[in-house]
């Protein structure tokens, strides 16, 4: 049995959650949560934590970078690999807000979050 401590980020209460993990890495119990949403968050967070990546890409002909995001959260452990791929990219105008710049970045699409005209 292993335990992990987490801060619930679902609401401003910020409860301290304790998650008990079996040796197989499965969630045996969650304590410290004030409501069921905390338990659900804890399970996701210890089994497959994901994060939305927001960053910028270089744009041809200007110093001003273009802001972008993944259209869904990607596995947390791939954030730095994703950054490497995004930073090797260069886009050319025109790009519209919502345009897809990469089709598959660790399971997500990379989309523009502003216009580049």
């Amino acid at each position: 049995m292993k335990t992990r401590e987490l801060t619930c980020i679902v609401c401003p209460m910020g409860c301290t959650l304790r998650v008990e993990l079996t040796d197989e890495g499965e969630v045996a119990a969650v304590t410290g949560n004030t409501c069921p949403r905390g338990a659900a968050y804890a399970k996701d967070e210890v089994l497959h934590p994901v994060r939305t990546l927001t960053t910028t890409v270089r744009a041809a002909g200007t110093d001003r970078p273009l802001p972008v995001k993944t259209d869904r959260p990607i596995p947390k452990e791939h954030l730095f690999d994703a950054m490497k791929r995004v930073n090797s990219l260069q886009v050319e105008a025109p790009v519209r807000i919502g345009d897809v710049l990469l089709d598959d970045l660790f399971g997500a699409k990379l989309v523009a979050t502003a216009d580049l005209l």
């Binding site: 980020i9 994060r51 927001t54 910028t56 110093d63 995001k69 954030l79 950054m83 807000i97 979050t113």
Partner: protein
């Protein structure tokens, strides 16, 4: 130039105020913005987390701003960009300057102040030591990285755990910098929990509570900082001092409403918020001059900025349409008591419509009890498990409560114990 309503600043507050005023029936409006594009500070806030309340989805700053800009464009409301407002006179004459027109004036029937806020600069914090380069506010660093595409340094220490500092800790780490620590003078963080988790813990960046930067070192460029623990009175414990080599120090020590123009116009300010003192329609003490957004009080969520700006814009339009009629005959002051540091609005001029009071506590309150009193009489009360200085709270006063207060004729006191 003449216009019905002049709106100063085209950030989310100015944009939402313009749309609301237009929809309330005033079509002759003018937005004045010193930046090259509308959107305000949101243009550089490329992270997500905006719009959950207003749109039910998580948008990035530029996406949130783009929606407001689209609404303004749809109504053909003119935005004068690269136009700096220099002064506002009590008779509602605005003096501004831009390249095409030089210095010019705009006579307005009503004015909406929406200039936002700026970060507390280093000088105000009095850190001893040398004066090398490499020290920036977190927002300046955000502008460098996200708008100008340059990383201001590689080895970073952050002083202050406000949200912008936390966001920048993650941003700089993702771009390859090494963030050594975030030092926070207080025993708790000023930032949202979710940001502490997603921006610091995700990247194993230490958050040093009750710590400060006690000295900066470097000749020309910053070479390092001394950090130390502080006691209950926030005084440095010299024996805990240690040196961290770094080339960049970011300051995230709070925001100050940008009210030079308001002061020039003679608008009385609330010493606690640093913004204008307003009534429930967001009208300042000068008739026809309204304020909203971060220039009024510092908001943590842009959604509430937009809501407040909507109210201010609509109020300005009503004021113009009703023939710019004077002032309320009676008004009830609203005062902060107990752990409550301030309230907005600071006065209520009419008991007829419900009024949502916004406030902040000065220290953490567990099992908090909020009371609204007129003199010694408790008119309303509410319980909440926890209130923290980092989160703006609100409470709605019903017309019944307001009428009771107006009948009694005494100030309302809002307190948390």
């Amino acid at each position: 130039m003449k216009t019905e309503i002049a709106i100063i600043g085209a950030g989310p507050a100015g944009l939402a105020a313009a749309v609301a005023a237009y929809d309330a029936g005033v079509k002759d409006l003018l937005l004045l913005e010193r930046d090259a594009a509308p959107g305000g500070i949101l243009q550089q806030c490329i992270h997500n987390g905006f719009g959950l309340h207003r749109y039910g989805e998580e948008l990035t700053g530029p996406e949130y701003a783009a929606r407001d800009v689209a609404e303004v464009r749809k109504r053909n409301i003119p935005i004068l960009t690269e136009t700096m407002v220099l002064s506002v006179a009590p008779d509602r004459t605005v003096t501004a300057m831009n390249r095409q027109n030089g210095i010019f004036t705009v006579e307005a029937k009503a004015i909406v102040l929406a200039m936002g806020c700026r970060e507390r600069p280093r000088g105000a914090l009095n850190i001893p030591g040398d004066r090398p380069s490499g020290i920036y506010t977190a927002g300046t660093a955000q502008r460098f990285v996200n708008i100008q595409g340059v990383l201001p340094g590689k080895e970073i220490v952050i002083l202050g755990s406000g949200d912008i500092g936390l966001i920048m800790a993650r941003r700089m780490t993702l771009e390859g910098a090494h963030v050594h620590a975030v030092c926070e003078l207080m025993p708790y963080s000023g930032g949202l929990n979710r940001n502490i988790v997603q921006c610091l813990r995700d990247f194993d960046i230490p958050l040093l509570l009750s710590h400060t930067v006690s000295r900066v070192h470097g000749n020309g460029r910053l070479t390092g900082v001394s950090v130390a623990e502080v006691d209950e009175n926030r005084r440095v414990k010299p024996e805990t001092e240690r040196y961290i080599p770094c080339d960049t120090l970011l300051l995230s020590c709070g925001l100050l409403p940008e009210n030079e123009l308001s002061k020039g116009a003679g608008v009385p300010l609330d010493p606690v918020t640093g913004g204008a003192s307003v009534n429930e329609r967001r009208e300042t003490a000068i008739p026809g001059v309204f304020a909203c957004g971060n220039v009024l009080h510092v908001h943590d969520l842009v959604d509430f900025v937009s809501e407040e700006a909507h109210l201010a814009g609509e109020s300005a339009a009503k004021w113009v349409l009703s023939g710019a009629a004077g002032h309320a005959e009676r008004s009830i002051p609203v005062r902060a008591g107990g752990k409550v540091r301030y309230t907005v609005p600071q006065r209520i001029d009419s008991p007829e419509t419900p009024v949502r009071l916004f406030f902040r506590v000065g220290s953490v309150a567990d099992n908090a009890v909020l009371t609204v009193k007129s003199g010694q009489t408790v008119l309303a009360a509410k319980k909440k498990r926890r209130m923290t200085p980092g989160e703006m709270e609100s409470f709605e006063l019903s017309p019944a409560v307001l009428c009771a207060a107006f009948d009694a004729g005494e100030p309302l006191t809002v307190s948390v114990n």
